[in-house]
Amino acid sequence: MKNIFAITSNVELFMSLATSLEKRSQGIPGLGLIFGEPGLGKTRTAIWYADKVGAVFIRALATATVRSFLEELVIELGQEPMYRASDIYKQAEKSLSENPRLLIVDEIDRLASRWQAIEALRDLTDQTGVPILMVGMDSSERKLARFRHLYYRMQAHIMRFKPLSEADVKRFAGQLCEVQLGESAISEIYRITGGRIGNLIGEFLKAERIAKANDLKTIEGSHLRRKAA
C-alpha cells in the first residue's frame, strides 16, 4: 500500500469549499459547514488541509464552555489567555485581525447546544473577516439549523461528506493500491465496504496479500470471494 494522502471526491469538495470561503467577495458571510457520518475521513481531511494552508485547527470538546472554547482558540493562536471571556474574545479578535487565517472547528456538534459559542464564532467572522469552516457529525446540520439567522448565512457553504461511489473506489485504489484491481474486484470491494475509507484500506491490504501469495498481477472479484469463503 502506498503511503500517500489520497485525493477523493470528498477531499476535492472540501478543498473547493474552503477555497471559496477564503476567496469569497465582500458581503458574503464566511461560515461553512462540512458534515457526514463517522469514518468518512472528515477530520483527517481537515487536518491535512490545515497543514497544507497553515489554518488554525481546533477541536471542540464535549465538556466545552464558551470560555474554555475561546481559551483553546487563543492558545492555538499562540497567546496566553486572559481571565474574562470577553477579554479572551478580544484577544482572539485582535490576533485574527492582525494575522487572518482560515479557522477550522472540528466536532462542531458538541458546541451546537452552547448558543453563545456559536454566536461567538459568528461575531469572529463578522468582525475579523476570517473564514470559519465547521466540521461535524451527521447531526450537526440539523443542530445548527436551529440557529436560523446563522444557518441562512452559511447555506451556500454547506457540504456533506458521502461514502465513496464505485468510481471513487476505483480512483482511490489507483492512488493507493500497489496491485491492479479488476472491475469485478472494485465492485466486490465496493459491495463489501459500502465506500467507507477505513474498510476500503483493509480490503486493499487483503487484495495485496492475495496477489503476493499467489504471484498475481491483477486481482479480480473471484479472488476476493474465494478468500472470503
Binding site: 503511503n3 497553515g54 492558545i75 492555538e76 487572518p100
Partner: protein, 147 residues
C-alpha cells in the same frame, strides 16, 4: 519607519482597502510617493501579504511565517492526539527518516508514548509551538563517543 512598514500598518488597520485609502492613511501627498505606494502594493501582492478581492480593492492577509517541518509534524500529532508514523508520512509527504526521528524524539522527551509499533499517543495538552530540540540521552552519548 520605511514606507513599506507604514503601508503595512495602515493595511492591517484598514483590512480591506484601495491604494488611495493607503495613500490617504499614511498621508502621502506627492505623485512620486503615490507611485511608490503602488509599487509596494504590487510587491505585497506578489508576496501574498495582500490579496486582490476586486478591481483595485485589496485585503490584508498578513505576512506568512516560515513554518518548519518539525513544527508541522508537531501540529499534526497534537491535532490527531493518537497518531502513527504512517499518518505523519501520509499527511506531510515528508522524509521517512526525519519523521521516524521526530517520533522517537516525542517519546524520548515524554510528549508522546508508544502504544504499539509505529503508533503513538500524545501525553497531555501540548503547546502550539514546538519546544526547542533538547538533546536526548542517545544524542549525548553519541557526542561523548565522538568526542
Amino acid at each position: 519607519m520605511t514606507l513599506a512598514g507604514r503601508m503595512r500598518q495602515a493595511a492591517k488597520q484598514l483590512r480591506k482597502f484601495t491604494p488611495k485609502d493607503i495613500s490617504d492613511t499614511i498621508e502621502v501627498r506627492s505623485y512620486r510617493e503615490r507611485e511608490d505606494v503602488r509599487d509596494s502594493l504590487r510587491d505585497f501582492l506578489r508576496r501574498g501579504e495582500i490579496e486582490r478581492i476586486d478591481h483595485a480593492f485589496y485585503r490584508y492577509v498578513g505576512r506568512k511565517e516560515r513554518v518548519t517541518f518539525r513544527q508541522r509534524l508537531w501540529d499534526i500529532s497534537r491535532r490527531m492526539i493518537q497518531f502513527s508514523f504512517k499518518d505523519l508520512v501520509q499527511i506531510t509527504g515528508g522524509n521517512k527518516g526525519t519523521i521516524q526521528e521526530f517520533c522517537c524524539w516525542m517519546v524520548q522527551q515524554g510528549y508522546a508514548r508508544r502504544i504499539k509499533r509505529g503508533h503513538y499517543k500524545v501525553t497531555g495538552k501540548l503547546k502550539p509551538t514546538i519546544p526547542k530540540h533538547r538533546k536526548g540521552a542517545a544524542d549525548q552519548a553519541n557526542e561523548r563517543i565522538k568526542g
